[in-house]
Symmetry: C2
Subunit: 173 residues, 2 copies
């Protein structure tokens, strides 16, 4: 939005990340963060998620699932959140490693058996598996990109939330 | 968008859900679904997730994390996806149970330690815990709402993806 006085690698504000790292090193409690969202049901299978003061993220289901097909559905949003998280991880770690990225895309696919969601079977209603394929356009070597990939895989907040069992408390007010 | 000839409970197209249930009962393979999203990095910590032909879901990080603060960040999107998923689950199961919902909201909160994301510690970079609090406005009894809540908790695709360890394959193309 504004001119920067110096060109920044990958347009990443690495000084801000460095300042955060320093504050967490001084006080590890500074790393404890709380994130929030509020969802409003809009009748049928439509709803929207509000985060801070941003425009709501609309949600609906395809017609075959009984929805109005007006927006991505929640499992598609989850895949999108994973891809967006990986993009941040690559941008951050590439910048720290001095790697310039020309382009970065992530293709996400997940397999899901609807039987538990439809009440036709007990058990796991979530994704059975998810694959995220990252395509990077960069002059970095394959070895550098693989080291970058390993770093991102080992530190993705959304990736780890999916790959590990996270305590989830669903409360009826 | 169009007039319906009969009023539908909670505006849910329960006939479409019923048709899907019937097709899965006839052929369980019909329950196997694949979902997808494509993410494009937009430099810095900004990116967007595209799902089918819908408007992209924008993503960015707060300034304190080095971003441009132009959109919800990926972990907030994950919380939003969970709330949107629970909304579908309540709407579907309430309709099947004959419960009319006047309003439904979900407040989501998640605790996340940034040390792993920042590369200051190995281990779990994801949410340590997530709480979703559902507020329902309905004439249904507390017992009916608790039975509904149990049903939704036991069958939420995004909820189960978070609460269980899902095989996640991150591939560098």
């Amino acid at each position: 939005m504004t001119d920067t006085t110096t060109a920044r690698l990958n347009d990443v504000d690495i000084d801000a990340v460095g300042a955060l790292v320093q504050s967490v090193q001084t006080d590890p409690a500074a790393a404890s963060t709380t994130w929030a969202a509020r969802v409003q049901w809009n009748r049928g299978f439509a709803s929207e998620a509000k985060v801070r003061s941003f425009s709501p993220i609309p949600s609906d289901e395809p017609a075959a699932l009984g929805g109005g097909d007006s927006a991505p559905n929640p499992v598609e949003q989850l895949l999108g959140a994973l891809g967006n998280c990986l993009a941040v991880g690559y941008a951050a770690n590439a910048t720290v490693a001095g790697i310039a990225l020309r382009d970065l895309r992530v293709e996400l696919k997940g397999e899901l058996d609807l039987q538990a969601f439809l009440g036709l079977a007990d058990g796991h209603a979530g994704f059975n598996s998810i694959v995220a394929t990252v395509t990077i356009d960069s002059d970095a070597s394959r070895d550098e990109l693989e080291a970058l990939h390993a770093k991102v895989s080992g530190s993705s907040p959304v990736g780890h939330t999916i790959a590990h069992a996270v305590p989830l408390d669903l409360v009826l007010a």
